[in-house]
Symmetry: C2
């Protein structure tokens, strides 16, 4: 195997121009799933991906979804699975975040290579989230063929086009008769759609926080009122709303909803020890926010990591209905909505969180003795996910990482973010098959933000890690 891997690595180095060109073509397609006028770009992107895979001998098919949603691409490589090889299910997404309202230093939809040395990066929307990793899987096949090395597993791909818009339609597809076939004969699954904890050390991810998204609306007068004529004599919805929101979380990030804390798994001594070896400093943390910044609540990296991955958080995101924007407006809005979300951890449940938040806010509102009306809606939710990292799937990725990244043992991490699709994949796999998140980009890639990028070295090494992972997984001698 060692010789196969070396050939594959050399081949990947040789093909760096081809890899860059493929990523460039992908970045050039403006497949923003949240913008209605980008439907054609999503179709174009799906076709591009399927064509690339088919050109390499895969059998890739865009599966149409209802309601004119972008298709899910299901692909098999090789076309006919080799029954003697294990099968790995790969998930990724070909849609990207919008760029509106952001100031970029580079063209968002053109691949730009800039910087030098370790900081040489490919800039462009989707370079790290998630076109870079998706294209890297295609590169893995190309590099094998170029090297004359057999891909040691059957690959099953599931690439969706709605991840940045709540993965609408995917769960339904995966639960359908056709969709369930995606999981047939699958031995393990891998998603490369997150990031290293910092910028230097690779990691493997075995957990995610869940998310419960709330929109609470206070409504009152049937129409907008003049604050000169009515200020001080009517119950103002926005006054009530800020009071309610101020009772949810304090400046130090402590959630004030009673009962939420009770559902958090207690920290064991054993778990606490796992934080000792993780390569993460407050310097890393500050750098991930911006140069010379200092906005961390905890000055301790261990406590910071714990808060990110094993404790819940509550963030307020914005408003609707009020006079928003820079203008000086003096009216009293007749209704206002406040938007906030709670990231959840084991063993919280959506049902419990919803009930606790609803009852608590209703109680606070009642005490206000306001004549306005309160409406609480949980508009989106995804449960937390956690799997056992002591299995072959993770072991193979660990060996691959060590091989490519100078013998560094990747940190085992849980993520603060939520990837609801991970739940759907795990559900399709069943609890006895392992799902792993294997990031190739770093925390400084600016996913979702302006100047999204991936380090050139991470893109190249990412192809190698993903390929090597398949080889180690196919090794019969390796146990989890």
């Amino acid at each position: 195997m060692a010789s196969d891997l070396d050939k594959f690595f050399d081949s990947a180095d040789e093909l760096s121009s081809s890899f860059k060109e493929r990523l460039g073509k992908a970045i050039h397609i403006k497949s923003v799933s949240s913008e209605a006028d980008k439907k054609d770009e999503l179709t174009k992107m799906a076709k591009f991906l399927a064509d690339e895979l088919n050109a390499l001998g895969a059998q890739a098919e865009p599966k149409p979804l209802p309601n004119n949603l972008p298709p899910v691409i299901i692909a098999h490589y090789p076309k006919s699975p080799d029954q003697t090889k294990p099968t790995i299910l790969i998930y990724g997404h070909y849609d990207v975040q919008p760029v509106t309202g952001q100031t970029w230093h580079y063209e968002p939809f053109e691949l730009t290579q800039a910087g030098t040395g370790d900081d040489e990066r490919y800039y462009g929307r989707g370079t790290t989230d998630d076109k870079g990793p998706v294209v890297a899987w295609v590169n893995v096949i190309e590099a094998h063929q170029n090297a004359g090395v057999d891909v040691p597993v059957n690959l099953r791909f599931c690439f969706e086009g709605m991840e940045e818009s709540g993965s609408t339609g995917l769960a339904e597809y995966l639960a359908s008769e056709d969709g369930r076939k995606v999981f047939e004969h699958v031995d393990a699954s891998c998603i490369s759609d997150n990031y290293w904890l910092g910028t230097k050390k690779p990691c493997l991810t075995y957990g995610l926080r869940g998310i419960n998204y709330f929109k609470i609306t206070i409504s009152g007068p049937p129409t907008q009122l003049h604050s000169g004529l009515f200020g001080g004599i009517v119950y103002e919805p926005l006054t009530d709303l800020v009071i309610l929101l101020s009772k949810l979380v304090d400046s130090q990030g402590n959630i004030l909803v009673p009962g939420i804390q009770e559902d958090i798994e207690p920290l064991t001594e054993e778990e606490e020890k796992t934080y000792d070896t993780i390569d993460f400093t407050m310097q890393d943390f500050n750098n991930s926010i911006g140069p010379n910044t200092d906005y961390g609540i905890y000055n301790d990296p261990k406590r910071t990591l714990m808060a990110r991955r094993r404790y819940p958080s509550l963030s307020i995101h914005g408003f609707d209905g009020s006079a928003n924007g820079p203008e000086t407006v003096t009216s009293i809005p007749p209704w206002v909505t406040g938007k906030f979300s709670i990231r959840t951890v084991p063993s919280m449940t959506t049902g419990q969180v919803s009930e606790l938040v609803t009852n608590y806010l209703k109680g606070v509102f009642e005490q206000l003795n306001s004549k306005n009306h309160l409406d609480i809606k949980m508009t989106d939710s995804g449960e937390w996910w956690r799997t056992d990292p002591e299995v072959k799937n993770f072991k193979a990725a660990e060996l691959a990482t060590q091989k490519v990244w100078d013998n560094v043992t990747p940190d085992l991490t849980r993520e603060g973010g939520s990837i609801p699709v991970a739940l759907d994949i795990q559900k399709g796999l069943g609890s006895d098959k392992s799902l792993m998140l294997l990031p190739i980009g770093t925390s400084s890639d600016g996913a979702h933000g302006p100047d999204e990028n991936m380090k050139v070295k991470n893109y190249q090494n990412g192809v190698k890690v993903l390929g090597a992972y398949l080889h180690y997984f196919a090794e019969k001698s390796i146990e989890g």
Copy 2:
């Protein structure tokens, strides 16, 4: 005089079609001062007004203002003042509020006549605020000429085009060499730019609340952050902001900024008595908000009126920087601005209010122990205004109102709203000359809102009241 007035009234009745046509032409011009693409419409509206006045023998001139602001129209009627007559300065504005974000049942920029009997109304943006009253002054001249009755005073007009956008440029103009001439030889001044307290009884207004507008900004991380990756571990600006805003005012409208209450003039027994005779019920109040509504804080009309006119109020209006709108966005905004205003009353001052609010919020913010930054700006301000209603200016308007509105004695009112220009006019006049607000529309006209309107009867009788006021003012036998 009685016979002159009767002729003028008959003439006004005869000319109702002409009055409607003139108002229709004014409504048709989209002179929205807050929208940058409406510059031409403001110029058009200024020209229309000047042309109408000049056609009636006035000398009207659009005075250009710096920075491409809409002109101020200064007009004299007659062209050469008659030294034997008193001179009245009339202020009004020809710009209107925007209609964006509102659902109208009528075309906003077409005059529509709808309803029957007492509820027959002219609908359209500006019908009551303030094109209706402005055009009514023009109608007054026309009706006199048509009746062959001499206008018994010299009229001086000052019509601006930026009132709905903070009257930018007007105060500077009125303080300039040319602007100061507006006040030369003026005996009294009248502004028709507010509304009756309810829908049935006319009023004369001798006071206004002031306004101090604040924008407070909390800024932190240099860029938008992912709430999954950073929620619970960074100081979030929006968390701090809602806490600050929640400490400004309670649900019942009580301002929580210490010291604000101390600057309010105590209520005297004498003042309290004046509320006894005012025609205002909670039914009137509820109707002014909408049919079958009940959002009043005080169930007592007297206390409601007091809160509107002699006590301050604080309203929160909206936000900037956060993820505003209906979308489900999960980011942590790097900075957020909260907008609120305080309506002020005697003897509060802008300087004191600004200091109290700033010191209080800084203190509250310090206690949060947040690493974010607080910036407090008072972006707009206008002091309260109050004048002596026991003078000839008010007496003349009272007699005019009684004559036109079946002998009803108008209520003497103070307004909850703020018309900063009243301060500038009063300043130009000097404290020895009387300024009066003489509204012709009612509280149900929907100023600033959708379906803005003026009752047909109020428009017609408004012309008569404004004209009769000039006659009573010119009567030497009438004393204040």
